[in-house]
Point group: C2
Chain length 231, copies 2
DNA sequence: CGCGGCTTTGATGTTCATCAAGTAAAGTGG
DNA sequence: CCACTTTACTTGATGAACATCAAAGCCGCG
């Protein structure tokens, strides 16, 4: 927590508009005075399975994965979260400790607020509580639906899905550098490293993408979309 | 809604103790005066995908499945819910319409409360709101974790899991009548009807269960547990 | 009776994980 | 800077798990 710093006006942070619409000026001041920003490097663990839940986390920028440790050593990805999503909505209000881990897939900035302060605000300010619930509901809906969706896709469909996720949600470009290794992609979408490579090669041979090491360029976006949807 | 009836004291309903701890006597009276009970027969649709979310549902008794219509006609099961779980927590606070359907797998009794009344209570009574959030958080946690769990199991593991679910959670007995057809079980745990039957037969041949039409008797519970956990 | 849905079993093919083996790239110590 | 080790990447071959297809028996119902 060495690099944590207090900011009261957080330029570029959408936290206020997203949730704090319902807070009074006085309440916002309280939150601002205790919130901290922290930056995590690619690969760093943000929260570990079993750790005590003491804080409420909000993803400001970057990219994270929420996952569980499998028995066989292989991680089980629950979700990949992009900014403007609450990071720790899953268990925060029901559990004492995290049921899962969160790791940064890329350089990631997180806003940290003491959980008890949030709870107190919910109790005192019902509109704020309802706002959090709406966000929470949307968030878990999203996690469940994409997880269901992804679970049913075949390998090609899953690869297409994640390539489009990177292009659309994260890098906003059809050409980008993969933030993770082939092996990590395999874990993200639950397949073997070999098959990730194999399908990358297939897509390359079919002229759907161009590959240059970590760099990916999407050539036939419509075809990728079709594979993602239909696969 | 013909059989809906007003009950103020709902004997045997745990709704009060589960959520209403935080409500004042006056508030409980309001809720009691507007809540309705409704019973659904096996197979009946409780809510349909796309319908407007107007009410807050609580599962009093019975068994339901939450699912989505797949493109290929095959249903996609999101969750099987047993009593004391809130039925409609997924999208209620974030969406205008349901993203999924809910159907009764068995005779099921549901408590129905106008959603706006619940929202008003959350705004007025922060402790009540926090209580709902805890329940919501636990509920979605449960859905996500079991879905992740189930998704990774092989066919035998999934069959073992659902047999134990019926025995432990629902019928509280090692001998019970399946409330659903083989085909529906296949949909529940995402496999083909043929394989459900095949694995039932395997389990029968191995002396793990006895089968007589719809009736199932679990003989080697420990072995079934091992298959469910490890598979 | 005969039709349609549920159940059961067998045969076949597809999808994917696993194993094996080799190449490229990147870090490490001398 | 070069040998050395390790890690990432890539391709092919094999086998296991599972879906699909086909066919037949069973049962309730009009």
């Amino acid at each position: 927590m060495a690099d944590a710093k207090i900011q009261c006006d957080c330029p570029g942070c959408d936290f206020r508009t997203v949730v704090f619409d319902n807070l009074t000026g006085e309440e916002i001041k309280i939150v601002c005075s205790i919130k901290r920003d922290k930056t995590f490097q690619k690969g760093e663990i943000i929260v570990g399975e079993g750790e005590e839940i003491k804080e409420f986390l909000y993803l400001r920028s970057g990219l994270i994965k929420i996952f569980r440790k499998g028995e066989n050593g292989r991680d089980q990805i629950i979700h990949i979260a992009t900014p403007y999503q609450f990071v720790s909505l899953l268990s925060v209000f029901s559990e004492k400790t995290y049921n899962y881990s969160i790791a940064a897939l890329d350089e990631t900035s997180v806003c940290i607020i003491d959980l008890q302060v949030i709870k107190d605000l919910i109790i005192k300010n019902g509109n704020f509580g309802l706002g959090i619930m709406e966000k929470m509901s949307k968030n878990t809906d999203n996690i469940i639906l994409t997880s269901i969706n992804l679970g049913k896709k075949n390998l090609r469909g899953r690869i297409a899905y994640i390539l489009l996720l990177f292009a659309n949600e994260i890098y906003k470009s059809d050409s980008f550098d993969l933030p993770v290794s082939r092996k990590e992609i395999a874990q993200l979408i639950d397949m073997t490293t070999e098959n990730v490579i194999r399908i990358f090669s297939e897509f390359r041979k079919d002229g759907i993408i161009r590959i240059n090491g970590k760099n990916i360029e999407i050539v036939k976006r419509d075809m990728l979309k079709r594979i993602s949807d239909h696969g």
